[in-house]
């Protein structure tokens, strides 16, 4: 699969949030304003691309040769959680500004199932190392796109008259569902038209 196709796939066609329903907690939790949504989106993109590389290496260089492929889920959980911790420490040490900007979002990613999701999808799809990396970045960009759109909607919603029992998370989930339906328009025919 060409890299371009991978990018289109993970941003639009199988967007992790809107098509696969992964990583919904940051999607709802951190989309109340545009700034934090963008912060979260970039943090996730960053972690996803690194996690894609690391988990690919781990799987193909260690787990596969040793015949321990069945341990991938638990090993990936450990790896991603530690990776995020490490990234947090490094960022805190070398770029306090970035650390402040990312703030609480970095540790939140530790348990973000979307990161785990893309790691497992990479393995399942049999991507090589560069393809995995591309998929990681693209999935992160897809996440960024979804959470950015969501935050724009929610900022708008602040000024709307929402019935009180739907205020907050409920109406956010409903709008998220509608967005997901809109994204159903992107399917494989889009890819066929683009790359033939």
């Amino acid at each position: 699969m060409s890299y371009f196709a991978i990018v289109i796939t993970y941003i639009f066609i199988s967007n992790l949030i809107l098509a696969q329903f992964l990583g919904l907690c940051p999607f709802i939790g951190v989309s109340k304003n545009v700034e934090s949504a963008v912060g979260m989106g970039f943090a996730v993109t960053f972690v996803m691309s690194i996690a894609s590389l690391v988990t690919w290496a781990l799987y193909h260089l260690i787990l596969m040769p040793l015949g321990l492929a069945y341990l991938q889920t638990i090993v990936f959980i450990l790896t991603i959680a530690s990776l995020v911790q490490l990234v947090e420490m490094v960022v805190q040490k070398y770029s306090p500004v970035l650390y402040k900007a990312l703030g609480i979002y970095l540790p939140l990613i530790t348990t973000n199932c979307a990161v785990m999701g893309i790691a497992l999808i990479n393995i399942k799809s049999g991507y090589n190392v560069l393809e995995s990396f591309t998929a990681g970045i693209a999935a992160g960009m897809g996440f960024l796109l979804a959470i950015l759109l969501m935050s724009a909607i929610r900022v708008q919603m602040e000024t709307e008259r929402v019935p009180r029992f739907l205020k907050g998370a409920p109406i956010a989930f409903i709008s998220g569902g509608l967005m997901a339906m809109a994204f159903m328009a992107f399917d494989n025919s889009l890819l066929n038209n683009l790359v033939g």
């Binding site: 040793l66 341990l71 450990l78 530690s82 490490l86 490094v90 040490k93 009180r164």
Partner: protein
């Protein structure tokens, strides 16, 4: 045998791998250590750590940082911490604080339980007051009373609120941390904050005219003004057809008004509390 060996190797390698990662993180945290502000850590220590958000920050850490950086000069924002936290903050920042302020607790100003307050229809839907409010402002004829579905229970960070089983909810003042979340979520506004050492409460929230209140609820305040007129110094004040009891100046006649109230909606606060505690089982 093969399976057992497989499980054993899987277990061993995962444990080793996890341990290795842990070790790596431990080393990294030592190498990449960033000196934290001592004031912030000390402040974090005296704050209760509930992360309830009552102070307006995401959690206790945010408030501690704002205080240490001098961005926030209001030391009293931590309601759950009360006097203890306030004293601690004052000590760390070297500021004189008044720790004698009385803690406020939420109270449900309604006695309209099942059979006392009349219902206009049978609500069978989501267990949520705000959902019920959408349908004709709830199923009670009185639009100001407690709907008893427990929206407040769901937002309470300390489980201080529970249902009584007869269509009302009660707040346990000992568990209440005065964060005010229940007051904000309550659609009828029947929950209001009162001082913890309140002596009496007017347990009604009805702003309807006396006649209407009487037809809606057996223990509603009918705004007869007996409490206000007969005991002018006791602190009762009629506003919008409802008697409001002030707690700042506790003049004589507060207890007598309880006897004189024809609707019996003025009740001693502490006694109610004890009764609630015993019925909690």
């Amino acid at each position: 045998m093969d399976v057992i060996l497989r499980i054993f190797w899987g277990f061993l390698s995962t444990v080793l791998f996890g341990g290795l990662l842990g070790l790596g993180l431990a080393v990294a945290s030592r190498k990449l250590k960033v000196e934290k502000d001592e004031t912030v850590e000390a402040l974090d220590g005296v704050l209760p750590g509930l992360n309830c958000g009552a102070c307006g920050y995401a959690g206790c850490g945010g408030y501690a940082e704002a205080l240490a950086a001098g961005k926030d000069e209001d030391l009293t924002k931590c309601k759950p911490g009360g006097a203890v936290a306030l004293a601690g903050i004052g000590k760390i920042l070297g500021v004189e604080v008044d720790t004698n302020a009385v803690r406020m607790v939420a109270y449900v100003h309604c006695l309209g339980k099942e059979g006392v307050a009349s219902r206009s229809y049978n609500y069978e839907g989501l267990e949520d007051c705000n959902a019920a409010t959408v349908l004709f402002s709830g199923d009670k004829d009185c639009k100001y009373g407690c709907l008893g579905l427990g929206s407040c229970m769901n937002v309470c960070p300390t489980n201080a609120i529970r249902k009584t089983g007869d269509g009302l909810v009660v707040v346990n003042p000992d568990l209440c941390i005065s964060c005010g979340k229940c007051v904000d979520i309550c659609p009828t506004g029947v929950m209001r904050m009162i001082p913890e050492d309140a002596d009496f409460v007017v347990a009604c929230n009805s702003r309807d005219k006396g006649k209407l209140t009487k037809s809606n609820c057996k223990v509603g305040c009918i705004a007869c003004k007996i409490c206000e007129k007969k005991f002018p110094e006791a602190g009762y004040k009629i506003q919008d057809n409802l008697s409001i009891l002030g707690y700042d100046n506790r003049g004589p006649g507060r207890a007598e008004a309880v006897e004189k109230c024809p609707a019996k909606c003025i009740i001693p606060y502490r006694e109610v509390k004890i009764e609630e505690a015993s019925s909690a089982g």
